[in-house]
Amino acid sequence: MITVEGLTRKYGSFTAVDDVSFVCQPGRVTGFLGPNGAGKTTTMRVMVGLTPPTAGRVTIGGHLYNDIPNPGRHVGVLLDASAQHAGRTGREILELGARTMGLPAERIDEMLELVSLTPAEAKRRLRNYSLGMKQRLGIAHALLGDPSVLILDEPANGLDPAGIRWMRGLLKGYAERGGTVLLSSHLLNEVELIADEMILIGHGRIVAQGDKKSLLAGAHGTASTFVTALDNEALATALRTRGLTVASAGDGLRVEAEPVEIGRTAAENAIVLTDLRAAEGALEDLFLELTSETQREVLA
């Protein structure tokens, strides 16, 4: 379990992290989501003792990171997959980690296999790795010491879709066995796919937290649904008579209502539906809205 209590980090007059508190529970994957420069990395760096906090503190399983003996055996850390010596081979990087933690050499092979790096790839030097390979190596490094807590900064960055699916399986399985996982991302889709719980941060402050459902429920405005019917016109008319807001979107309609209500309307009016689903991007709207003050791009 990771407990962040009233964490603040200032750089001169700039406040990178502003009174942040949250908890990452064991058995769950917690996504730490926010635009670039929102304070995710700074928070994670404070967690592992690389950055001293201005105020507040972070404990991992009840301990300050710096008080944990041989911390690699308890907390797996990946802050920047590129922050390794470019001239070392992938295998040598794991070798140094394993030796520092006092682990047997077999552990290196196990981890290489786990992250699907072949022996030939492991012999290549890091400068010849793609970002995706560096991320896999970084995850292998974080898992070396068989930790019960994982702290990963942008681990899905640079992974291809298959890689992201692989990571989702890996982290979910890890959490199901009782591990605590905190992973950050600036991409909503990644976090949505992998995380059980989400913490949204913007401008150094937590703007929302909870699971996907409760976040959406907490968002003001009703859910919206995409629907396509054989006769869109008839459906739109029927929905409007029920007092629902309907707009045309692509081949179909976007309706400000739950799918069940639209299904009911269609059934009552004997209209054949060819597609009915909750609108994607509801969470994205929420994310952009909540962090809009800190967005670099002005939202239309």
């Binding site: 592992v48 001293p52 710096n66 911390p71 055996r73 010596h85 030796r99 520092t100 296999e113």
Partner: protein
């Protein structure tokens, strides 16, 4: 696929079965880091090769030129062109490579007790300095023996405990000076440039200042660490030389090292 057994279910970490990372293990890891990259490996190997090369050239000159006569110590002194130049650079790289390659993030997250990591690096530097000395003594012995066989001059084995101890001290101080500048600057090129200025440009400036200003001439021995080390080369240190050595060493070695370590221990590691 191997499964990852996630230990420590529940909300608090059980640290009872974990022992702190032993210092010896840190030293072994740091020693490994000096040679597990091509750059590091070749720096170490070329130090040894250059040491041998300089002595072989010296040997060739000694054999072919009648007016040059060599001894064991003159072979050892030739290392001022090899070990004395490269050992400080090894000392610099020990520390700065963690910053230039950003591996300090990983190193300090695996061992948050930063003083232990820095101390392990310092021990590695001392071990390498001793290894360099052993190699130099061996090569000087071989070259001097060859000189005795191949030249008409008599073989002079003027080795002494004082000489050897002074030689060890000289190399250790060189390594430590590099290490201290590195701790102060945490940047490889900057530390190497500053070290080169310190060892090749500064002595000339001190000399010039001493020629021009009487008052500077009188304080110079106390602040010129390079010249304070020169009696070490011949092992002719007197009591006064030692006090020069200690005071100037404090300025050029202890102060940068202390400021640098203070900085490393407090710095935010990026």
């Amino acid at each position: 696929m191997t499964t990852i057994p996630a230990s420590g279910l529940g909300h608090s970490l059980d640290l009872s079965s974990t022992t702190p990372t032993p210092f010896g293990r840190l030293v072994r890891v740091e020693l490994r880091k000096t040679r597990d990259t091509l750059a590091g490996f070749w720096l170490l190997l070329s130090t040894a090769i250059l040491t041998a090369l300089v002595m072989v050239i010296q040997l060739a000159v000694g054999i072919t030129q009648d007016d040059v006569s060599l001894s064991y110590n003159s072979f050892l002194t030739s290392t001022s062109f090899s070990i004395a130049v490269l050992l400080p650079i090894i000392g610099i790289m020990l520390l700065t490579s963690e910053w230039s390659q950003r591996t300090a993030m990983v190193t300090f997250s695996l061992e948050p007790r930063r003083p232990n990591v820095i101390a392990a690096k310092l021990v590695v530097g001392l071990l390498l300095a001793v290894a360099a000395v052993v190699i130099a003594l061996g090569l000087a012995t071989v070259c001097n023996a060859l000189y005795g066989v191949l030249s008409d001059d008599p073989t002079v084995w003027n080795a002494s405990v004082a000489h050897t101890a002074a030689f060890v001290l000289l190399q250790v101080v060189g390594m430590l000076t590099g290490f201290a500048f590195a701790a102060l600057l945490l940047n490889t090129p900057a530390a190497i440039v500053i070290y080169m200025v310190y060892s090749f440009v500064l002595p000339g400036l001190f000399e010039l200042g001493a020629q021009l200003m009487d008052w500077f001439d009188s304080i110079r021995p106390w602040i010129d660490f390079n010249s304070a080390q020169s009696p070490l080369v011949d092992a002719t240190m007197t009591g006064k030389d030692w006090s020069y050595f200690v005071v100037s060493g404090f300025i050029w070695l202890a102060v940068p090292l202390a400021v640098g370590l203070w900085r490393v221990l407090r710095a935010e590691v990026k």
